[in-house]
């Protein structure tokens, strides 16, 4: 899966476009989704998301996605689950402090964010994870935040 994950970071630019497109489609579908009920949709959405994002990004399904702001690299793959940037332990070759054979997630994220011109969004201070959202659909959550019907 490492190969796919790295491919995703290298192709962050158009993947981000696809992602933005998906958000747009979801917001178009919102009246229907709302009628069906977000809670009822959460499980199937989370299942699809888990497969797609799991395959492309090794997503850990935290339920509060930052991919668009972290260069399409899932920060939850960081062994310290750091969501705001690399720790000081990154090795000189860019390897992770804890898993030396793995490139630091944030080395990838920085590379990816430059590709999508997201040097600004990587500066957004990410709140700590809400552990209650783990395994739930981040897409639906993002949609509900966008249309203003969620906390």
């Amino acid at each position: 899966m490492k190969a796919v994950r790295l491919w995703s970071v290298r192709n962050a630019r158009w993947l981000k476009k696809v992602y933005d497109g998906l958000e747009w489609i979801l917001s178009l579908l919102n009246p229907i989704l709302r009628r069906i009920g977000y809670d009822r949709l959460d499980k199937p959405f989370a299942a699809v998301e888990g497969v797609v994002k799991g395959f492309l990004f090794d997503s850990q399904s935290c339920g509060q996605c930052t991919l668009g702001e972290t260069g399409m690299a899932c920060p939850m793959n960081c062994p310290k689950t750091l969501r705001n940037g690399p720790c000081g332990g990154v090795r000189q070759n860019g390897g992770c402090e804890i898993k030396p054979e793995m490139t630091c997630v944030w080395v990838n994220a920085w590379e990816g964010s430059q590709q999508i011109g997201a040097e600004q969004t990587i500066q957004i201070i990410q709140a700590p994870v809400d552990n209650r959202l783990k395994g739930r659909s981040a897409w639906l959550r993002a949609l509900r935040i966008k249309v203003g019907s969620a906390s």
Partner: protein, 328 residues
């Protein structure tokens, strides 16, 4: 040096306008003095006398003492315990709080407790991975990261609220610090990461060991260009190396420490390598002082704490200023 409004040991100084803490460390920096901090070695014991003896090595040489939070994920007396003991005597303490071992509930409780014990400064760290320490089988917590922790403490102080939004009746009056490692990849991201820490609330920055002065100079220039020097005080991390062999071991085994070959060569070529390590540290202090935006030095003299007096005196880091020390 004593302030005119010096309190009895254990109590805070009056908070001056524009200050956020009742501590002397913030006062020294805001007064534009070149500050010296040092890291105390936490004992593997429950004896307060061990802590007092280790702190006494710094008397008259440092403005504030960092109490590490089981650094390298090796178990020692807690930062909170050391700070509690030493604030009673009047020392200016910097509580180090890593996200490795505690969740947000424990961290916020500790912040209130520390402030109540007279701690005026907190250094928010992500923390070393548990794999590097003596309990690699432990559960790494990392509920927060250094940046979300900074914004959490700032909110407790400035908005008088827990993360939950529940009010705090008397907020912790703290001066907030963060760490920076200018030497670890991705190098271009490092100044931005520091910017992010400052945006999250950091008022002072203590860096990783600076052995690569050229790299540090570049970093500081980038930091200046981002306009960060007006927003936070930077203390450059320095420290003596015991020998070329020790230095080589550190750079291979201690996460985040970058030691160039030239440093190892200089130590290896010396007759008395330990003395050369001290001399090198003094040279480094003189060099970092010349760099625009360096407001002080943070001395990490691991297992060489007894040499801090010599380092501070010979480098003249204090410009003849005599920091507070406990009354004899």
């Amino acid at each position: 040096m004593k302030f005119d409004d010096e309190p009895t040991p254990g109590e805070g100084l009056p908070i001056l306008p524009g200050h956020t803490s009742p501590g002397r460390f913030e006062r020294i920096l805001r007064a534009g003095k070149f500050a010296v901090t040092a890291e105390i070695a936490p004992p593997d014991s429950a004896d307060p006398a061990d802590v007092f003896a280790r702190a006494a090595l710094f008397d008259g040489y440092v403005d504030a003492i960092n109490a590490t939070d089981s650094s390298g994920a090796n178990c020692h007396m807690s930062s909170m315990g050391i700070c509690s003991l030493l604030t009673r005597k009047g020392y200016a303490m910097i509580l180090q709080q890593s996200c490795r071992d505690r969740n947000r509930i424990a961290m916020q409780g500790d912040i209130l407790g520390a402030a109540a014990m007279g701690v005026c400064n907190i250094l928010c760290l992500s923390g070393d991975g548990v794999q590097s320490g003596d309990h690699p089988e432990a559960k790494p917590v990392f509920d927060m990261d250094s940046i979300s922790a900074l914004s959490m403490v700032r909110r407790m102080r400035d908005e008088q609220q827990f993360m939950s939004g529940r009010p705090i009746s008397s907020p912790p009056r703290l001066f907030l610090g963060a760490a920076a490692n200018p030497f670890a990849p991705p190098l271009d991201f490092r100044p931005h990461r520091m910017a992010k820490k400052i945006a999250a609330g950091a008022q002072f920055i203590q860096t990783q060991y600076c052995f690569d002065i050229e790299r540090f100079r570049t970093f500081m220039a980038q930091v200046r260009d981002l306009g960060l020097l007006e927003k936070a005080y930077v203390l450059a991390g320095v420290g003596p190396l015991a020998s070329a062999k020790a230095a080589d071991w550190i750079r291979k085994n201690v996460a985040g420490v970058h030691i160039p070959d030239a440093v190892i060569d200089r130590l290896a070529g010396a007759q008395d390598q330990k003395q050369e390590g001290v001399d090198l540290c003094i040279d480094l202090i003189e060099q970092v002082r010349e760099i625009e935006g360096v407001s002080g030095v943070h001395i990490m003299a691991y297992r060489m704490e007894d040499r801090i007096g010599e380092i501070v005196t010979r480098s003249n880091a204090l410009d003849g200023r005599e920091p507070w020390r406990p009354a004899l």
